[in-house]
Symmetry: C2
Subunit: 113 residues, 2 copies
Amino acid sequence: MSRHPDRDQIRIESVLSALGSPVRLAAVRVLDAGGEHNCGSVLAVLGITAKSTMTHHWRVLRESGVIWQRPSGRENLLTLRREDLDARYPGLLDAVLAGAAADETLTRAAADA
Amino acid sequence: MSRHPDRDQIRIESVLSALGSPVRLAAVRVLDAGGEHNCGSVLAVLGITAKSTMTHHWRVLRESGVIWQRPSGRENLLTLRREDLDARYPGLLDAVLAGAAADETLTRAAADA
């Protein structure tokens, strides 16, 4: 599994662009629980059944430096690169994840109104 | 000039996607100085001479809620919606702008090495 940028090769435009998709941001929120996740378990949380849908999204997340992706047997294991992202862009990931949670609350409140 | 979302209509994926482009992020950094800027003055700072290049980018920034854009005479005036963005996503814009500045420093250091 190549094409993981080193910490110093990460660029903020690529990180923002990677996070700027509903499905990728949702996946990152799942990975934020910490540890390694296999693709299937993330997809199950997201309610996505087609693995192929995510191949492109994992690549974007990997090549931008947002996640580590490593093959393990027949599947890939995914980890959020929180330490690298926090080192390069202090506060960014927390602000993004808090923002995503706030959006969700707002959307639910609107639906209930 | 329509299609400015209200503060509550702003969604973080759209903001991140709008900021996730080198030229749009550079434009936002110029607007971060505060106040209204006309398109031409922003383009001059960015070293862009083709106004048409930016029409799409201004629309993305406007429709995501990152900037206000209002016609004034023969041109458009642009303002960063910092108050709205800070209210919805505390710390996000500061983290992004600091990250962009840090990337620039890193890129320069690499070029000088």
